[in-house]
């Protein structure tokens, strides 16, 4: 029997989220206290980072309380190494998104308080997504992240692009949550519970019961179709969060229209939480043992192959659409769709090493993708434009930013000896280790895609280093941005060579509640 705590006892394990919730409200009030201060942005940044640091400390505290995975709130949430890993990742992304918002000119000082408080609320949502084992909690987590993200995407109120992005986001998001909830209502009806732990066993038991009861083949068939449709609908909700094909349409517009610091956040944070959820469903709940029986577990549909096809489509569509983009934010949006495809390869492997490679890649992706968006923010700060035209001759106008951008882009391509190579290598390895013919095919598709992606990444590098700038004016980069760029470049370089610790960390995190 798995250990599950009741509501009162669970509170002792819920400190990080409680701190963040109180902190989000506290930052709103604190904003009033420092409203007249000339250093309002600095104060708010420090306060929000303090809240996040407290949440991180609380996370390490609650993780130490229970060495084995335990269920909280009567099984709505869990505390297992997988959840703890993604909690840390969420706090880190949120901290970086708050740090880079201050010096960017897209978040005005009188609105910085709202920005920080809303981001802290998203952090709570991401944590709930990563630790939910009940469909009800899953909805709450996804909706908390989505709804606050709608508001943040439209943060530049009088900007036409920003409000358009928010409207598109809210329409796509509403449809996705409608589909997900409808699927969940059917899963609840078929399985009799909203809890995800042991879904595979329940589904098999239900199929066996139908067979034993000798119901007519047509009724059993209808039940099977309903089950498949329900699972597909629930997975659409997850696919929308990670922006995989065919639920990726919102992604380019929202990324382009949203304020750059928030785009950077959106491309990493909610995506990571979505992958945490995808692994929890596909590897944790829907597989019988070690992921080996996933293929036959749910209504005889080969789910890993289904995810594999989606992975292949996602990376191909993302990469080919990115080829002729001239707006850097839009190009990076398509590139992030392609990366969702790569990471889905690890999910499609449906194995322990596959889940490990997903976790590993998301950490690496955090550094390189946030770094890339940081450079876009630096250039956009001066010119207000994200056109590739502005990047011509960037090596003369902002040498350090140009070099850093080149490092991030080559890392995103997956060239050694950068961290991106390590991440991609583990994804491919997890897939090839499964050894089936479709896995090998998918790996080859992934390799070809990486080659395609080199074209558009290298195009930016060429513009930065070989083309003549349209103006000689130097770009003034705030010291804090240079520091952050240096730190991110350092991490990308270091993890490209010394990745063993990171691999072990990711490996030890693949312990999912209720999955042996």
């Amino acid at each position: 029997m798995l250990p599950v705590l009741n509501n009162a006892d669970s509170l002792a394990y819920f400190w990080p989220e409680m701190i963040l919730t109180a902190g989000a409200m506290g930052v709103f009030l604190f904003d009033l206290a420092v409203a007249k201060s000339p250093r309002r942005i600095l104060w708010l940044t420090v306060a929000s980072l303090g809240v996040l640091a407290a949440a991180a400390l609380a996370t390490s505290h609650v993780a130490g309380l229970s060495p084995t995975p335990i269920g909280l709130f009567n099984g709505l949430l869990v505390l297992d190494p997988w959840a703890v890993f993604f909690k840390y990742l969420s706090w880190a992304v949120t901290a970086l998104a708050i740090l880079i918002a201050g010096p960017s000119l897209e978040v005005a000082s009188e609105r910085m308080g709202e920005y920080c408080a809303l981001l802290l609320a998203v952090a709570v949502g991401m944590s709930l997504m990563a630790s939910s084992t009940d469909m009800l909690m899953m909805v709450i987590g996804v909706e908390l992240v989505s709804m606050v993200s709608y508001a943040l995407a439209g943060f530049k109120k009088h900007d036409r692009k920003s409000s358009e992005a928010a409207l598109k986001y809210v329409v796509y998001g509403g449809v996705a949550s409608g589909m997900m909830l409808f699927g969940m209502s059917y899963l609840y009806g078929l399985l009799g519970t909203t809890n995800l732990v042991g879904t595979a066993a329940r589904m098999n038991a239900q199929a066996a019961m139908l067979a034993q009861a000798g119901v007519a083949a047509s009724v059993a068939g209808a039940g099977r179709v309903a089950m498949v449709v329900a699972v597909v609908l629930v997975l659409s909700g997850v696919g929308y969060k990670i922006a995989s094909v065919p639920w990726h349409m919102w992604c380019p517009d929202v990324y382009e229209g949203a304020p750059t610091p928030f785009t950077a956040f959106l491309s990493v944070g909610p995506k990571a939480a979505g992958f945490a959820l995808a692994v929890r469903i596909l590897y944790g709940a829907m597989s019988v043992s070690g992921g080996a029986d996933l293929a036959t577990a749910v209504a005889d549909v080969p789910w890993p192959q289904v995810v594999g096809v989606i992975a292949g489509l996602t990376m191909t569509v993302g990469n080919f659409a990115a080829l002729n983009q001239t707006n850097l934010k839009r190009m990076l949006a398509y590139s992030s769709i392609a990366h969702a495809g790569y990471i889905l390869m690890g999910v499609a492997a449906a194995s322990e090493t596959g889940s490990q490679s997903v976790a590993l890649y998301l950490v690496v992706y955090l550094f390189m993708n946030l770094g890339a968006f940081l450079v876009v923010g630096i250039v956009g700060r001066l010119s207000g434009s994200e056109s590739i035209f502005e990047y011509r001759g960037l090596s003369a106008r902002a040498p350090f930013a140009a070099v850093a951008f080149a490092v991030f882009l080559f890392s995103l391509t997956g060239l050694p000896p950068l961290a991106g190579f390590v991440g991609k290598f583990h994804l491919f390895k997890a897939l090839v280790d499964r050894g089936g013919s479709w896995q090998i095919t998918l790996a080859i598709v992934g390799l070809l895609n990486s080659a395609v992606s080199l074209y558009y990444y290298a195009r930016i590098v060429k513009a930065m280093f070989l083309d003549k700038p349209h103006t000689e004016e130097r770009i003034a980069v705030p010291a804090s941005y240079n520091l952050l760029l240096g730190a991110l470049v350092g991490l990308v370089l270091v993890f490209g060579v010394y990745f063993d610790g990171l691999r072990q960390l990711a490996g030890s995190s693949v312990v999912l509640f209720g999955h042996s």
């Binding site: 036409r160 358009e164 928010a166």
Partner: protein, 102 residues
């Protein structure tokens, strides 16, 4: 009085869901699209409640309350954004939102 049989309620919910889905794809007015999204969410509610009645279990009732709360929150955020869009360009027609080209 006999309760409504499960298949009838499920069929009604499925019809509502499909109406909402088609509406989202066909209609271009943002407000009508939001109404269609609400239809989809309420179809989920109806299914939850029908199954809860069939199972004699309260989880479905609880889920329906959560869905109602989610729908309300989504409507409020969505309408706020519609107002922001209307202020910046004087229309809520989704066809005309083409500042960003593909």
């Amino acid at each position: 009085m006999l309760p409504v049989p499960l298949p009838h309620t499920l069929a009604l919910a499925a019809v509502l869901f499909c109406l909402g889905m088609v509406g989202v794809m066909v209609r271009r007015n943002a407000l009508v699209v939001f109404m269609c999204v609400e239809l989809m969410l309420n179809a989920a509610n109806l299914t939850f409640l029908a199954f809860a009645q069939a199972h004699g279990d309260t989880t479905g009732h609880v889920s329906a309350f959560f869905v109602i709360a989610v729908a309300a929150a989504e409507a409020s955020v969505g309408l706020a954004i519609v107002i922001a869009v209307f202020r910046s360009r004087g229309t809520v027609n989704l066809e005309e939102l083409k500042t960003m080209k593909h």
